[in-house]
Symmetry: C2
Subunit: 773 residues, 2 copies
C-alpha cells in the first residue's frame, strides 16, 4: 500500500489547473485548512481561491429572499477565510522567485499521505542566470491542530550573494465568490475586522473579529531561520511582513521554517496569549519532532484501514487520496463537523449537510470510531436548535435538523430543495444507529443516541398522517433534488420507518441499562408515543408499482414523462445549471441515487427482484449530476451481481476530484463522494453489512483486480478481509470472537477462509441468509 500513499504531478501554470491544484494539494487536519496556492502567488490576471479556514468558524450574512414568506431563512452562516499566512517571497540578488519568470527546469507538486505533507520542488534559472532549487513543504499537524508549518529550502547551484525572504501575515482577506454559480457564495464579503495587530519579539499577531457572529480569531506567526540570518518586521495597517535576510553560497542549502498558530474564540480564550505560549513551546521542540509525530499519526491511521487494491495502481491511489482527504476534513471537536467540501475550499460556504451522516459516519465508524462519535456529538449538541427549527416549520413536536448549517441553524435559502429535505433528520438517526451497531457504544446510545432517535421519530409523527390505512408523509423532498416537495418519497418514508422502529428498539436497549425512565422523564416521552411510533412504522407507505415491480421514487413519479435525454446536448449537463426547476420537477429525471440509496440502506424492506428492477429503472434516468450518486450505484450494482458495472461506477467515484470530472473541484473536494469511494469497496465489493442481526459479508471482485483487502473494527474486534479471485479470507486481528454471516451462512469468527467469491450475476439475498443463519 505504502508506495501508493504519494500523489505527484507536474505543475501546470494554466489558471484552471492552478485553482484545481489549490484544492488537490490543500492541507487540513479537521481543524484548520489551507488551500494550496503558491506561496508567492500568481501574476496579475490569474484567479486564485487563496484561503485558510477554520472548521466551524463563521460569520453571519444576510440572505434576502426575493419574496419574503413566513419562516423563510433570511440570514446564513458562512465559513470565513481567515488571515493569509501562506505568503513567502524569495528574493535572490534582486529578483523575486516566480514560476512565471525565468526558466523552470523542473516543477512538481506532491502530496505525501504517509508523512502528511504537501510540497513543491522547483529547479529554477532566474532571469539573471542564478540556478536554484527551491522546495516548499507544508503541513497542518494532526497532533497540534492549530499548527500550520511551512518549510522553505533554497539550494544554490551557482549563486553567491544575498537572499531575502519576505514572509506575509495578511489580515485583510475576503471570501471567494462567483455570482454565476449557485454552489458558491454570490458576493465577496469582508467579514473579518482586524481588532489588534502587533509584533512581539520575532512573532507577529493579528487578532480579528467577525462582523456579526461575534467570533474572534488570532493568528500568530514565527520563523526559525538559519544561523547568521537577520529577522526584522514591517508592520502596516492590516498586515505584517517578516523580512529575513542573509547570504548564500553556491552549493549551499538553506532551510527556513514558518510557523502559523491559530486560535479562535469558539475553542479558546485570551487568544493572543494562547498563540504566543504555543509558539514559544514549539520553539523548544526540533522541527523533526513535528514531522515524526505526524507520520506516526498517519501510520496508525493507515493501519486501521489498510485498504489495498492489487492490480489497479491508479484506483488504489485514488482510494487512498480520497481516504486521506476525508481524514483531513472531519472535525475532531464539538465545534466542527465535516463540510461538504471539507476544509479545502469555499463551495457550499463551508456548510455541513447529510453527507456527514450517510457517507462519512458509515466510513469512519469502521476505522476511526472516535471521529464518527464526534460528528454525531455535533448533532446532539444542536438538537435543541433542531427542535426550534421544527417549531418554526409549524411542528408541535420533534426535531428537524437543518439541511445546511454551520452552527446548527438552517442556512437553506431555497427551501423546496433545502429545508423540505426532511430526510436529514432521519439521516442523523440512521447514523446514530449505524455508529451504535458498529461500535456497540452503549454509553453513546444512552447519553445521546436514543434522544436523537426519539426526537426525530416524533417529527415523523407530526409530519405524516394516515390515509387509507397507511402512514403517509406529504410535501417533502428526497435526496434527488430534481424532484421537490413530493408525497411519499420512498427514501424518506423508508428512513422514517427505520427511525420509528429504532425509537421503539431504544426502549429495550436503554431498559437493559436502566436508563430508559430517565430519558422518558427528561424529554417527557409518554408510553402512548411508542405505540404511535410502532403503528406508524408498521403502516408506513412505501410506494410500490406492481406493474414494474419497482419502488417509485414518490407517489406521482411514474406518472411523469421521462426526460428527453436524446435531444439534451452534452453541454447542458449538469441539468440544474441549464433548466428551470419546474422543467426538471415535471419529468422523470434524477440528479442522484434516491430510491437506489434507500435500497442500500434498507435492503431488507424489499425483495431482491424489486431492488434489482428499481436499480435498472433508475439507472436509465439518473444523470449523476450530484457527486453523491455514482458510489451508491457502484454499491448496489455489486450487491446485485453486476460487478463490471459496479467497477465502472466505482471508477467514476474514485477519480472525481483527482480528475476533476465534475469540473468544480476548484471549489473544494467532494467529501461525501470520497467516503463513498471507500464505501463502494467495503459495502459494495465486499458486501459488508452491519445490522442489528449482526455482521454479514458477500464479497465479489472486479475482473481488473488481483486482490483487495481492508481492516475494520466491529465492536471491540478488529477484522481483516482479503479477497482475491479464488477466495476470501476473513481474519480476526484482535478482540473477542464475533458471529458473522458469510454469503448467508453463519460462522463464529475465529479465522475463516471462504472458498468462493461471487462472480458476475450472482446475488446474495441478505434476508434469506439471515433467516438461514
Amino acid at each position: 500500500m505504502n508506495q501508493e500513499l504519494y500523489y505527484t504531478k507536474e505543475i501546470s501554470l494554466e489558471n484552471g489547473e492552478l485553482m484545481l491544484d489549490e484544492t488537490l494539494f490543500h492541507n487540513a487536519n479537521g481543524y484548520i485548512g489551507v488551500r494550496g496556492a503558491f506561496e508567492e502567488g500568481y501574476p496579475e490576471g490569474f484567479e486564485s481561491i487563496r484561503g485558510q479556514y477554520i472548521n466551524g468558524f463563521y460569520d453571519i450574512t444576510d440572505m434576502k429572499q426575493a419574496e419574503s414568506l413566513y419562516g423563510l431563512v433570511e440570514e446564513k452562516q458562512t465559513m470565513l477565510n481567515v488571515a493569509d499566512t501562506q505568503g513567502i517571497w524569495v528574493d535572490v540578488g534582486g529578483t523575486t522567485f516566480s514560476l512565471f519568470d525565468g526558466e523552470v527546469k523542473k516543477a512538481v507538486r506532491y502530496a505525501d499521505m504517509k508523512k502528511g505533507i504537501t510540497g513543491r520542488i522547483i529547479e529554477w534559472l532566474s532571469p539573471d542566470g542564478h540556478e536554484l532549487c527551491l522546495e516548499f513543504k507544508r503541513m497542518t499537524s494532526f497532533i497540534r491542530r492549530p499548527l500550520f508549518l511551512q518549510e522553505i529550502s533554497v539550494t544554490s547551484h551557482n549563486y553567491n550573494g544575498h537572499v531575502t525572504i519576505r514572509s506575509g501575515h495578511i489580515g485583510q482577506v475576503q471570501n471567494y465568490c462567483d455570482p454565476s454559480d449557485p454552489r458558491v457564495a454570490d458576493k465577496s464579503m469582508q467579514y473579518l475586522n482586524i481588532s489588534e495587530i502587533h509584533r512581539q519579539g520575532e512573532c507577529s499577531f493579528i487578532l480579528a473579529k467577525t462582523s456579526r457572529s461575534g467570533l474572534e480569531v488570532c493568528t500568530g506567526v514565527w520563523h526559525l531561520v538559519p544561523d547568521g540570518y537577520s529577522h526584522r518586521i514591517e508592520e502596516k495597517e492590516t498586515e505584517i511582513i517578516h523580512i529575513i535576510s542573509g547570504d548564500i553560497k553556491s552549493g549551499q542549502r538553506l532551510t527556513f521554517y514558518k510557523y502559523t498558530w491559530t486560535e479562535d474564540s469558539l475553542r479558546s480564550k485570551n487568544l493572543i496569549q494562547t498563540c504566543r505560549d504555543n509558539l514559544e513551546a514549539l520553539a523548544d521542540d526540533p522541527v523533526d519532532v513535528l514531522y515524526r509525530e505526524q507520520e506516526q499519526y498517519l501510520r496508525e491511521f493507515w493501519e486501521k484501514s489498510n485498504l489495498t487494491i492489487k492490480g489497479d495502481d491508479e484506483l488504489n491511489r485514488a482510494v487512498h487520496f480520497n481516504q486521506y482527504a476525508l481524514l483531513q476534513s472531519a472535525g475532531r471537536d464539538p465545534f466542527g463537523n465535516m463540510a461538504a467540501k471539507g476544509l479545502s475550499g469555499e463551495g457550499y460556504e463551508g456548510h455541513y449537510f447529510w453527507d456527514t451522516e450517510i457517507y462519512a459516519i458509515p466510513s469512519f465508524a469502521l476505522i476511526y470510531p472516535e471521529i464518527a462519535k464526534n460528528l454525531l456529538y455535533f448533532r446532539y449538541q444542536t438538537l435543541e436548535k433542531a427542535k426550534e427549527n421544527a417549531r418554526k416549520l409549524g411542528h408541535r413536536q420533534g426535531a428537524l435538523y437543518p439541511w445546511r448549517t454551520i452552527n446548527g441553524e438552517e442556512c437553506s435559502g431555497y427551501f423546496p430543495s433545502g429545508t423540505a429535505a426532511y430526510h436529514i433528520s432521519g439521516d442523523v438517526a440512521y447514523a446514530a444507529v449505524f455508529y451504535y451497531l458498529a461500535t456497540d457504544d452503549i454509553d453513546f446510545m444512552c447519553s445521546q443516541g436514543a434522544e436523537i432517535i426519539v426526537e426525530t421519530a416524533r417529527l415523523w409523527i407530526d409530519t405524516g398522517n394516515y390515509y387509507d390505512g397507511r402512514f403517509q408523509i406529504q410535501d417533502v423532498t428526497g435526496p434527488d433534488e430534481y424532484t421537490c416537495m413530493v408525497n411519499n418519497n420512498y427514501y424518506t418514508n423508508a428512513l422514517a420507518k427505520f427511525n420509528l422502529e429504532w425509537a421503539c428498539k431504544c426502549r429495550e436497549i436503554l431498559e437493559n441499562q436502566g436508563q430508559w425512565k430517565e430519558l422518558c422523564t427528561r424529554i417527557g416521552l409518554k408510553e402512548s408515543e411508542l405505540d404511535e411510533f410502532e403503528r406508524a412504522a408498521e403502516c408506513m407507505l412505501l410506494p410500490y408499482s406492481r406493474t414494474l415491480d419497482i419502488n417509485p421514487q414518490d407517489d406521482s413519479f411514474l406518472m411523469k414523462k421521462k426526460w428527453d435525454f436524446e435531444t439534451t446536448p452534452e453541454e447542458n449537463y449538469p441539468l440544474l445549471l441549464h433548466y428551470h426547476p419546474l422543467a426538471l420537477y415535471r419529468r422523470q429525471v434524477c440528479k442522484q441515487a434516491d430510491t437506489v440509496l434507500s435500497h442500500f440502506m434498507f435492503e431488507e424492506y424489499q425483495k431482491t427482484t424489486t431492488v434489482r428492477n428499481s436499480f435498472l429503472y433508475y439507472e436509465q434516468i439518473t444523470t449523476h449530476d450530484s457527486s453523491l450518486s455514482t458510489c451508491i450505484f457502484s454499491i448496489m450494482a455489486a450487491r446485485l451481481g453486476m460487478v463490471r458495472k459496479a467497477y465502472q461506477y466505482f471508477g467514476d467515484s474514485a477519480k472525481m476530484d483527482l480528475f476533476n470530472t465534475h469540473g468544480n473541484t476548484k471549489d473544494g473536494i467532494h467529501t461525501a463522494n470520497m467516503a463513498g469511494t471507500y464505501m463502494a469497496v467495503i459495502y459494495g465489493f465486499a458486501g459488508l453489512r452491519i445490522r442489528k442481526e449482526g455482521l454479514s459479508l458477500s464479497p465479489c471482485i472486479p475482473g481488473a483486480w488481483e486482490e483487495y483487502s481492508f481492516r475494520f473494527s466491529y465492536g471491540k474486534t478488529r477484522i481483516e478481509i482479503t479477497v482475491n479471485r479464488e477466495n476470501c479470507r476473513v481474519a480476526r486481528i484482535d478482540g473477542p470472537a464475533v458471529q458473522l454471516f458469510l454469503n448467508g451462512k453463519e460462522y463464529v469468527l475465529e479465522d475463516i477462509t471462504l472458498s468462493k467469491v461471487r462472480g458476475e450475476g450472482e446475488i446474495w439475498d441478505i434476508k434469506d441468509s439471515i433467516s438461514a443463519g
Copy 2:
C-alpha cells in the same frame, strides 16, 4: 341609484385611518392615480403613503434570489411614485392650516361618484382665532387623462388679512416599503432622477428619468388664481414651490385651481413641450367644462350598468363604490392594464395578475367592452414575451404568461406560487373567449383572440403528458396558494381543457371569416396540432373522488390531514403571515376558491351534485385569506340555491375595502374583489351565464332585498334585468333580438317577464337547461 353614488365620512386623525382614507379617497382614471393624502400632509411621526402613479410606468429593480437557480427571476418591475404635486399649504395671517392645529369644528371627506371628484370640507378655527371654511376638491379627469385638478376654496368667517397659498411640485420622491409585509415592497428606493426642472411663465415642469428602465415622465403644474392675487415661483434643486398671495375679507370666498398635467415617454414624445401645450389649452376652457365633461362621462357609465339594489342601502353603496374604483383602475391604452391595487396604492408593486382576466374582464365585457378589449390587447401585445417566458421554463412551444408583471416580463420572486401558476395562461385564453362570447367581436377573435388561444393551448400540450390514458398536468400551482406545485390541479386542468377545446373551435370561427389559413401560416400551426388539442382536451384528467362525490383540488389533496382550525388562534389569520409554506402545503386548507372557482367557470364539466358537494367540502377548509375568494363563494352559493349564504359572502366581498376587513386597504384597493362584488350580483344572484350555446339566467334574490336591477350588453343588444321577490323582468333596451335561456327554458328576448324567482334551496342545472332548450 344616484343618491348612493356618494360616500362620505368624518375625518379621523388616527394614523391607521389616515392611511386607509388615502386609499379609499384616491382619484384615478386608468392612467394616473393620486392617493388621498392631505394636501398639507400630516405632522411628524405620522406615516403616509403619499403617492401619485402612472399606469404601466415602472422602473426595474434587482430581486436577488436567496439561492440562485437556473431561470429564476432576478429583477422585477415596480410601479413608480412620481412627482408629488398634491401639496398645498394655506397660510392665514402667519398660521399654516392643519387639521392637527387649532380647533376643527367640522371635517368630512367625500367621494362623489356621480361627479367623479373627492373632497374635504373643513370648518376651522385657527390658533389665532381666525374662523375659516376650507374646501379641497380633486379630480383625475376621465376625459383628459393626464389631468389631475385640485380646487381649494377658502371662506373667511371673521378674518381680514393676508392669505398665502404655497403649492408644491416636488421631484424627489420614493416608493413606500414595509420589510415585514411580503405584499408590499421591502425596501424604499429612489428610482426617479430629475433630469430637468424649470419654470416657464407661471408653469413649472419637472422632467425625470427612471434609473434602469429608461422611461421618462414630465409633470407640469399651473394655477388659476383669483383676481388680484400674485403668483411667484421658488425654484430649488429638486422642487418648485408656487407662492400665491393676496388678501381676503370676512365673508369672502376665494377659489384657487391647481392643474397637474402628466406625460410619460411610453405614450408621448417631447414631454415638456406636450405638457406645456396641454396646460395652455386648458387655460382656454373654464373649469366648469372640465367638471361637466367628467359628470357626463360618469352619467354614461352608470347608465351602462345601472346596477341598483333596493332595500339595502349600505350594500348598494358598497357595490357602487367598488364599481367606481374599478372604473378608476382599468387602463385605457395599450401601455396599462389593471394592477391588483389599481392606481390606489403600492401593494404588489403595481403588478398585473390574473385578477384582470378572471374578475375584471368578465365584468367590463358586459358594461364597458372597450375596456375589456383594451385589457386583452395588453396580453396580445405581450404574447411574444409570454412565448419567451415559456422557453425560459424549458418549453419548446406555447406561451406562458407571467404571473405578475408590468411590461409583460415575469416579476415573480417565489416561483412555486408565482410562475408555477400556469393557469394564468389559461385565464388569458378564457378571458379572450369570454369577451368574444359577450361581444361577438369577431375582429378581435381573428386578429388577436385566436392567436392567444392557440399559443396558450400549445403550452398545455408541452406541459402535460399522457399517463394511464389520461392527459395530466404535473407540478403546477392552482389559484389556491396554500398548496403549491401539485399534480392535476382541478382548476388548471379544467381550464386547460377549455383552452384546448377553444383552440379547436377557433378553427371553425376563423374559417367562417376566411382567416384561418392566414393564422396557421403566421404562427406555423399544423393540422396535427389541432388533433393533439382535441385529444388532450378529451382525455384531460379532472380529479374526482367517487367516495365523496367531489372534485379534489389536486391528485393528492384528499390524502392530506385537514388543517386544525380549532386550535388556530384568531390572530394567526391570514395564515400566510404566521405559518411556513410547508406547514400549509402539507394540510387541507385553502386560501381561496380554487375548485369552487372552476365550478363557476366550467360548471358544465360536472354534475350539479358534485358541484354542490365540492362547495360544501371546500367551504369547511377555506380561510378566504385571499381577497379573491368570498365573491366566488357567493356566486356558487347562489348557483346552488344557498341564497342566504350567498348573501353573507356577498356582504364580505362588498365591504372588504370600505370596512378594511382584510386590514391592508392602506396599501390599495382589492380590484379583483371589487369586480367580484359586481359578478356576485350578475353571475351569482341573477345567475347570468354567457356560453357558446347562448345567454342564460336563473335569478334568485336575497331575503333582505326588495329588488335589484342591472343592465348589460350582449353582442349588440342591451338588456335590463329586474328581479324582485315575485318575478324577474328581462327587457331588451335596444339592439337585435337574442335567444335566452331562463331557468333552463328557451326564449327569444323581445320582452319577457318570468313569474318565479328561485328561492332558497332551488338549483337550476345549466347542462339540463341547455340540452332542454
